[in-house]
Symmetry: D3
Subunit: 199 residues, 6 copies
């Protein structure tokens, strides 16, 4: 069954199948099929973004380059950074979907909810706290970034591969937060009830 | 001649050729060759980032997906957004390199310098001003983003393809600003003297 | 069974039964009994605050004066204001417990989670949005409060009794956020799993 | 003589005697009688708040629970916190009335005026300065509250009863500042000339 | 009697008569004599600043160029702007001395105290409010200054001479606030009790 | 040849020769003649300010009192402070003209451009960095100025004459930034191309 763009799911107009190449459309179908299998539904963002099809594929590939098996930090650490950044910026949609992901990775919905509110009072290892402090600082005080951020991450035990990756990830969510907030995709209700059992 | 990573050009350790696959290394060489041809030097950032080689290639591809011939906004408009975001965040390296690019695109160094300082008093068309106002707002007030940003861009005459792209671009520079500020690449002196003639 | 203060549940020392009058202790027991019946557990905050027993009773009475049947706004509207204020201030414990309350009042966990992230993209009536905008503004821009806040609430259809109550409630959470953040009570795990079914 | 609500003393409508129970009205009369005796005039706020009579009584009782003889900090220390919070938030009415109170407690109008402007350059004991720094921080940086605030107060010599009270008091003025700023009671001229002699 | 610099009245070292020319010293003596006659005491700032004698004379002349009979705005309007700027920046010494001046000009200590707290709820003509709004905005949001500030002042009825002067005056206090806050002169007690009678 | 005010070079009306005394006009002519000789053009600001002629002369004298041979800090250090302040406040015109001055003093356009973007990643001696940190702090956090700023400057090796001057200079640019931003003089194109050669 072919993906159809017949719902108004963001502030922008709906994508038009005719403006996409067959190759682009195939990427989408493959992508959303995976979602349907994993979640039982298609994350709405992915029905909105085909509006600018090739840029969307660029986003997908970019995301995959930072979230894959060859990465230095764990998926959970990267999603944690994502929640700290998105909470600082107040990005509702990102907190919704990435909260779901992190609940899936950790099996600890209580801890994840705490991160979406304010990481400071959540239970964190010293290394996790260093990542969160870093993510918060570069998000909220970009003009004041200096050598101390790298120093603190090193002191907490991170090597330079990990630090560069943490910087990319904090940057990644500062990127998504801006355009996601702008277009305001309608969040899938499913996310809020998903991965809600403590494991 | 092979690219060597023998200079300390950021806060992080130097990349190691041995940690890269031949395929990855080939991408870098091709990329820096193009720079040498165009500028006469290699943008230092590109000698620093092979530290996390596959993520860097992800960044390159991502950048290309937003800056190519099929895009909706002009290169100059996108670099203008980049300067507004980077000036708001105070990213020295990004203002250096993207200032150079935009001087190249416009042939108007005075106007570009103005954008790096504060776009508000620069000479701007109504459409350009709407883009700059948008870029500033989502950068500095992310928590307050709502429907008004899209409305204003539409009123200024942008269609939804362009608006989505503007959002991606404003996001893109909010991404680079965080990690570039963190690792602090040493800027090439060349950029400051390049494209400095009024055309 | 008597309440015992044998757990370290905040940054401050544990309360001491001997420093409380019997009358004060009775109030606590009655209060926590009600919680046990409703929730199956005692909100930890209420095991921490007997440290300053008479002030805690003052807090309880104060809270009751703003949340009772004679009030002008609905409980749901007041908890909504509470989430907006607490999200703006980043008060993890308040978002935890009052998120639970509001899920209970509304039976709509998805909507409540959205409010804890950023109310702007949640589905809101015009009147609800006016309350949220008000709560956000007085929380984050206290120095800039002027006549416009009352005007906007009136335009949205609120009478002066309701406006005064909204102001009290926005103030109430700006009060709790400061001391709750300071003492950092350990949140009960139960809250995160409570009232999580859509009704 | 019965209290009459015939003056327009805030942004909200005047209270109506008929909407109050006799019991509530009695509380007001007793309260304002005490003011007339002490000051020679009735603080206007107290002629405004009967609009929501039972909530106002809740406020009165709440205030009394934090300002009485069994409290841990001195009245002067608590009013000092109040001025720091109110100065940070720019609450004109609160600075007016609580400045008057603190002049009364200390007999030092010059010092009190300094606190209303900026406590940093006022003459303060180390303990007073720790309280002021605490009050400023939780008022202006609520999202960044963590364990350091309690630590610093302990280092300055405060015990946990006092710290909890300081937190309640800083919270209290963050509460009043929001609704007082919203309704904007007309300050009594008397306050500005009261307790103005150095003792 | 010659002025002597034998008191420690700021964070910086005391001025040294020997480092001043006779001409410079004469200016100081003349200046402080006038103060003694008007106030009965010498504003301490003027005993501190001879440390950099010729720069201090530069400051004196500069001040006189903005506060003299040929100016466009009234002295009271200019001191009002000064209080708004100094209150926004929290400059204790400037609020102390300029509060005294404005009490002298207006004979209305209550109104002046209100301005030092927050001008928004003080009684202001439309023109006064426009000046205060202007002063606040350029002080706290310098990066966002654009054409609207001049427009609003014109709409309120100011001509361009007055607008330029208002801009100079708002600038003047943003200048004094920085260095006065840095050196922290000890305020004369006398200011707090001076001009305290309603006229 | 007489200076004529026939161009619209700011948001305000053009100066009128008839409103100036001959003495005032002479000062202007002398001033602009010097510019023409040094730069080959007249800085537009100086054709705008005669609108309030005597205040403008006050500004000129004030500026000279802080920039002359008897000063304690070098001209380059003072212009560096000026760029840090103006970059923090986003004053386009000030960055334009003072960037030009500092390029002239240092012969290092690359370094100057870096200061206009963000001084933190520029190559700075410890003493220069202390001045820049000071200038940034008092500009952006005026309410939080306390004894630490003077301490840090002393630790970096500055004496009290230099510290007072640094404070005056940081203040000076906080002054110019406000009114220059307000009136928005049209920058001379010449500045952007001037002093652009590395020496």
């Amino acid at each position: 069954m072919s993906l159809e763009f017949d719902e108004q799911l963001s502030r922008l107009q709906k994508p038009n199948r005719n403006e996409m190449t067959d190759e682009e459309f195939e990427v989408f179908e493959k992508n959303v099929d995976a979602m349907k299998k994993n979640w039982g539904f298609i994350n709405n963002l992915f029905k909105v973004l085909p509006l600018n099809a090739s840029e969307y594929i660029g986003f997908l590939n970019f995301k995959n380059s930072l979230f894959n098996e060859k990465c230095y930090l764990s998926d959970a650490d990267k999603e944690m950074i994502g929640l700290v950044v998105s909470s600082t910026n107040g990005c509702m949609y990102c907190l919704t979907t990435h909260g779901d992901y992190l609940r899936g990775f950790t099996g600890d919905p209580a801890w994840v909810d705490q991160l979406t509110y304010n990481y400071r009072d959540a239970k964190l290892t010293e290394k996790q706290r260093a990542l969160c402090d870093y993510a918060y600082f570069v998000t909220d005080y970009p003009r004041e970034i200096d050598g101390k951020q790298v120093e603190k991450l090193r002191e907490a035990g991170f090597n330079d591969h990990e630090i560069l990756e943490a910087a990319f990830i904090a940057g990644f969510f500062n990127y998504t937060n801006r355009w996601v907030g702008t277009i305001a995709p309608v969040p899938n209700q499913g996310h809020y009830y998903h991965n809600r059992e403590k494991k």
